[in-house]
Structure formats: C-alpha cells, structure tokens
C-alpha cells in the first residue's frame, strides 16, 4: 500500500466509521438501559434512510440545484431521516418489546421477537418501496475535492458525513453527561429498580432511549444513502458492524461506541486493499470474535453510567 493509497483508505474508513459510530450508539444506549441486543436496530437505520431519501428526492428540482437548494435538501433529508428513524424505533419498542416487558418475559424472548421484527420490517419495506437499490442523484457538487492530505482527496460529502456524525456524537455525549434526561438514563442503566424508587419514570426513559437511538440511526442512514445507496436489506451488514463496534468499544459505553466505530471503519477500509473486497465483511466478524476472546469488556469498559 503506497502512501497515497493509505491516506485514501483512511479517508474512506473515517467516513464509513463515523456512520458505524452513529449506529453503534443506538445499540449501546439500549444495551446500557435494558441489557439487550436490539437486533432490529439495523431496520431502524434502513427505515430512517428511506424516509430521508424519499424526502430529498421529492425536493429535488428538475435542473441541477443551487447551493442554497442543496443545503436545504440535505438538511431536510437529515431531519426527515432522523424523524423516520425515531418513529420506527418508537413503533418497534411498542410492538416488539413493551408487550414482553409488561409480562416480564425471559431475555431469549426479546431477542427472538426483535429478530422477527427485523425480518418483518425489512421485507415489508422491500414490498412497499421495491427491492432495487435507491440512490440520490447528486444534490451538490459532492465529489468536489475540498482539500487533499498527502495526495488523498477529501470530498465535500465526506466532510459533511464526518462533520454531521461528530456533531451528533458530541450532542449525545453531552446529553447523557449533563442533562436531567441523561442522568435518568444513567440511573436506569445502573439499577432500574432503585432508579424507579428514586422517582425516575423507567418506562419513559426506556422509550426515550429507543427514540434517541432511532433519531441518530435515521440521520446516519440518510448520510449512508447519500454516499452509497439504500435498499430494503441495507441495514444488515452495517448493523452487525456497528454492533461489533459497540462491543469493541465496550457495550453500554457512549465514547467506546464512537471509538469502536471509527476503528472498525478503518480496519474494514484497509482490508479492502489488503485482503480483497469479497472478504471485507469476514474481517468485521473476525474482529468481533477476537475482541470477545481477548478483551470481552471492550476497549473502554462497559458501564453506561461510569463512562459518561
């Protein structure tokens, strides 16, 4: 790998890594609060990306959009994507998780129910929106090279993705660390029963956590679709990678999820070159297994309460 190639793959890795990080936050938040792998989170990502994409496509003018229009379309796509993701996460919590929680079902039941929800949602989306790849025609000159590092081009869209991703991560980190809501999320993560005795509305914290994760995943989904494309089964691979990222950083740990996402993005990007494109996803899974073997509690340790 030559120097320029290395930097090229670094840029690509950071771009996809920030999307993984944004999705990983959803896994980590829900795991922190419920000790549960939310298998259907990948479908929340997919539905958010569809929502944002359809909004952006509807706003697209006939000719090539002006700068102001482009910014407007991107913002609208992000907002609608986030809202669709949030709505999907809300619906998911209400239909697949809450009935089980009211009954106090065993943990296995949640996992299975989420798998069912995931299968249902992705194939229903395939039925409603067709089973082809859906892409966004360029809203602005997104391949415009803004600057180069050691010869590797950094394009406008890459900057938008990394920038928006970082902004959301920062927002969430502060939200969990300083606000009253964040305090109650951490309290439930530490000990739900005690938290409820202290006057925390546990049910509301749970649904808020789901919706927060959904908002982030939806916005991330729109960015992903703008960079690559969207389809009904797009959630699966980024979803697993993001889960691996959450485990790598220490599940339940907000900053860990970000670190894990960026690291996995880089590793996968380099392995495209070093091992071959067909095996990139193998690398992701191997990374997960290796993390579990060597440091199961993740790089930054597990607890949501302690980390934030």
């Amino acid at each position: 790998m030559s120097g320029q190639e290395f930097w090229n793959f670094t840029v690509v890795g950071l771009v996809s890594g920030s999307i993984y990080a944004v999705i990983a936050l959803g896994y980590t938040l829900v795991y922190g609060v419920l000790q549960l792998i939310n298998f259907a989170h990948s479908e929340v990502f997919m539905l958010g990306s569809m929502g944002g994409l359809f909004m952006a496509r509807a706003l697209l003018p006939a000719g090539s959009p002006s700068v102001v229009q482009s910014v407007g379309i991107m913002v609208a796509g992000l907002v609608v994507g986030a809202l669709s993701g949030g709505a999907a996460a809300f619906a998911l919590e209400r239909t697949a998780y809450r009935p089980l929680r009211r009954r106090g079902a065993p943990k296995l039941a949640y996992l299975i129910s989420a798998i069912g929800a995931s299968l249902f949602a992705s194939n229903l989306a395939g039925k409603e929106f067709g089973r082809q790849d859906i892409s966004l025609s360029p809203v602005f000159d997104y391949n415009h090279v803004v600057f180069t590092i050691f010869g590797a081009a950094v394009r406008a869209l890459d900057l938008v993705i990394i920038g928006v991703g970082l902004l959301m991560l920062l927002f969430l980190d502060r939200l969990v660390a300083v606000t009253r809501l964040g305090q109650s999320i951490r309290a439930v993560a530490q000990d739900a029963e005690t938290a409820s005795l202290m006057g925390v509305n546990v049910e509301r914290v749970i649904i808020t956590t789901f919706v927060l994760g959904g908002l982030l995943a939806g916005a991330g989904g729109f960015l992903y679709a703008a960079k690559f494309s969207a389809s009904y089964n797009m959630g699966f691979l980024p979803g697993i990678t993001a889960f691996s990222a959450a485990v790598l950083g220490g599940i339940g740990n907000v900053r860990g999820a970000v670190l894990g996402g960026l690291l996995l993005g880089l590793v996968k990007s380099y392995s495209t070159k070093l091992i071959g494109a067909g095996y990139v996803d193998v690398v992701g899974f191997l990374a997960l297994v290796l993390v579990l073997l060597i440091r199961p509690s993740g790089l930054l340790g597990e607890r949501l309460g302690r980390a934030a």
Partner: protein, 446 residues
C-alpha cells in the same frame, strides 16, 4: 359483557387489533416501487378492502376480550403458577397412540397425493422434511439449552460441502469431474459421509461456541450470525475450493450396496422423503431420550437457574457447548442429505434460511420435539401451497415469517404445541420465579 368491552384494557386492545388489521391490509396489498414510495400503501389502505381488514380486527378484539375475561389478580396468578410448578410432569400412555396415528399419516398420505400436486411432494421433501430435521437440531440449542443460534444454516452448509468434498463420484460421470474443485484423494459412499459431516459440523460448533459461551449467552446470537455470514461469503467467494456462487454440480445420490440389496435414491422426491422420515423418527426418539437423561436435566437446571445449577456442580459452560455441538451436528447431518440431491449453491445457506429454521422452532414450540416437526410441516406446506396458488408472491413470505415470530413471542411464547416443562418455565419466569433461558443472569428491568 358490556362492562367488559369498555374497560381501559379493552380499549387498548381495540387499538392494537385495529392496528393489526391495517398491518394485515398492508402486507397483503399491492407492491410498490421506489419512484412512488407511498403508492402501494395508498392502494392497499385507501380502498374498500381496508374495511374488511378493520372488521377482522374488531372480530379479533371481541374474541380476545370475551375469551380472556377480566383475568385473575396477579396474586392469584402467581400462587397458581407456583402451585403448578411443584406438580410433577407426567406422561400419559395415550400420547403414544397419537404418535402412531401421526406416523401412519406421514407414511401413507404422501402416496395418495394426486400427480397434479407434484410441487407438494417436492415441498414435503426439500421443504418440510429437511427443515423438520434442521428444526429438531436447533431445538436442542434454543429449546433445551435456552441459547440463540442465528447462523444455524452454516453447519448445514458445512455438511453439504463436506459431502461434495468426500463423496464417491463413480465411473458413470465423465472422468475428472468432481462436484467442487477440491476433492479428497479417496471416495466414500454417502452414508459414510454422514458421521464425518456431523462430526465436522460439531467441531465447527465447538470452535465457535467455546470462546463465546464462556462469556455471555446473548453474544452467542450475534457471533453465530456473523459465522453464518462468513460461511456463506466463503462459499460464494472461494471459487477455487467451493466453485463459488455456481455451487456444486453432480453430487451423486445416496445408494446402498449391502448384502445383495442395491438401491439408489434418485431424483424422485418421495423415496428421499421416506429416507428423511426414517431419520427424523430416529432423531425424535433419540432427542426425547436425551431430554430426560442426566444431560437434559442439566440443561433444564441451567435454563431455570444458571447460578443455582453452577453452585450444584453442573458444569454450565460444558453443557451449553454440548447442546451447541449436538445442534450443529444435526444440521451438518441434514446438509449431507440435502447435498446428495444432485446439486446445491450458496444461496441455500443464507441468513433467511437460518431465520426460517428459527421460525419453525418458535412456531412449533421451543423444547417441543413434536411441535417442531408439526411446525415445519405446516409452515412449509402452507408456504408451498400459497406460492403455488399465487396467493402470496414468493418474495413476500419473509414478511409473514417475521410476523409469525413476533406474534408468537407476544401472544404465545410457548408455541403451537408447547413442551409442558418449557411453558411452565416461561410462565414461572414471567411471575418472577427462576428463568427460562441461558443467556446469563440479566439484571435488566424487571
């Protein structure tokens, strides 16, 4: 009765039922495209047909509300659950009569199917029977050990590729042809491949489960999911070994040359079906013995209270690993039979297939051997029929499988034909006594 229908609970249920009706209208409605994203939904919902679906919702609500009544208080329910828990689970002799009748149906009904329904015979073999065997294997993992395996089909793939690698290709095939590019220096009869493939799959299961199970049961789900993907990716990409996405061609059928008996299972689905039926019956007997053996009791102990089991000297990790290996080897076993049916390609080893096996186990009843077999038959024959009759497009069936899995977990987690021990556990766990899985002591919201 009027009071019953106007309570708070009833109103919430009405909302849920109407929602269910709308969802039903959507998933049976028309198919859309990306250029008109809401066209399909509009056509399905803003039409006269939606009234029928809403009526179905209302009917469901009436049955549900009148059927369950006001419900016992939580104290009574808890007391009843605990009283039930100390009752011994007895097996009545009458059950055996039922088994004999069902076996007779399984033997004789396929022969009487009219020739026009050859798709049903095909579905019996490649759908119902193979998936019943797979379901029996997954049932050991999900039902007995209380773990979740989402890459179960990977072991099936291992079985199939081991077969293609080892099996006797014979003289009738043009020289030099092997099912996949790699072939062992020797050739084996398909029946000798069976134990080898089962052992290979079990070994893969131990290698995969070993590091994961030591940690946390719920991580096993995602690791197995990843493993399933890796196996399929390898099968697709390793052209020089597996023949890539083309798959294996010309895998010879199973044959017997023993003590003057010569028989070859050709492409006819019925003989294959009977072979599988025999294997399934043996596996059913073996697994029901296993369930009531020391091993089965250890699994039950781990499910119901892992910490107590460990404290009583049950090596929990080893027993979980054993369940995982037994499940995997059953899957590998099924893979051999699948492979000897002429050809296969990596498409058969998708994540969807793993989820289909899980759907079968959940639908039939976790831990219920009988339920799994009935579940496989019902689901697969129904799918085959609906697709043949063009009621449901083939690509839409995952929607229904997903809905079934979710609905079962919400409304009837013990399954269609529940295992009595398993459903008692689920009931008890819901009342806060003990557990019903082996995913590690969760300290979640109770």
């Amino acid at each position: 009765m009027k009071q019953l229908l106007t309570t708070d609970v009833a109103r919430r249920r009405l909302g849920a039922c109407l929602f269910l009706g709308i969802v039903l209208a959507l998933i049976t409605g028309s198919t859309g495209t990306a250029n008109h994203p809401f066209h399909a939904a509009r056509e399905s919902l803003i039409a006269v047909r939606v009234i029928w679906f809403l009526l179905i919702g209302v009917a469901l609500w009436v049955v549900w509300t009148l059927g369950t009544g006001p419900g016992a208080s939580s104290v009574t329910r808890a007391r009843r659950a605990v009283t039930n828990a100390v009752q011994p689970i007895t097996r009545s002799k009458a059950r055996y009569g039922g088994y004999v009748v069902l076996l007779a149906i399984a033997i004789f009904v396929p022969r009487t199917l009219p020739a026009s329904s050859s798709y049903l015979q095909q579905a019996l073999f490649s759908g119902a029977a193979i998936y019943a065997l797979l379901g029996l294997g997954l049932n050991v993992v999900v039902g007995y050990a209380g773990l979740l395996d989402l890459g179960f089909i990977a072991f099936y793939a291992i079985g199939a590729y081991v077969t293609a690698y080892l099996v006797y290709t014979g003289k009738e095939l043009h020289s030099g042809h092997t099912p996949i590019p790699w072939h062992a220096p020797f050739h084996l009869n398909g029946f000798f491949v069976l134990p080898i493939a089962a052992a290979a799959a079990a070994l893969a299961g131990v290698i995969l489960g070993g590091p994961t199970l030591r940690l946390r049961g719920d991580y096993l789900a995602i690791v197995t999911l990843g493993f399933g993907e890796i196996v399929q990716l390898l099968a697709i990409n390793a052209n020089g070994v597996t023949n890539g996405s083309q798959g294996a061609f010309g895998v010879p059928p199973l044959r017997i040359h023993l003590a003057g008996i010569h028989y070859t299972w050709s492409l006819d689905p019925l003989p294959e079906y009977y072979l599988l039926l025999g294997i399934i019956v043996v596996v059913m007997i073996a697994f029901s013995r296993l369930e009531r053996s020391r091993t089965g009791r250890a699994w039950a102990a781990i499910r119901e209270d892992e910490i107590a089991a460990a404290a009583s000297g049950v090596p929990t990790t080893r027993y979980k690993l054993l369940a995982f290996a037994i499940g995997a080897s059953t899957s590998g076993f099924a893979g051999v039979i699948f492979a000897t049916y002429q050809f296969f390609n990596p498409q058969s080893f998708s994540f969807q297939a793993s989820i289909l096996v899980l759907t079968i186990v959940i639908f039939g009843g976790m831990g219920s051997i009988f339920g799994v077999v009935v579940g496989a038959t019902l689901l697969q024959l129904l799918t085959a029929y609906l697709q043949h009759a063009n009621v449901v497009p083939a690509e839409d069936s995952p929607i229904f499988f997903g809905a079934i899995v979710m609905a079962m977990m919400v409304f009837r987690p013990q399954g269609l034909i529940p295992s009595r021990r398993r459903s008692r556990e689920i009931r008890l766990a819901e009342e806060g006594v003990g557990g019903a899985d082996a995913l590690g002591a969760a300290e979640g919201v109770s």
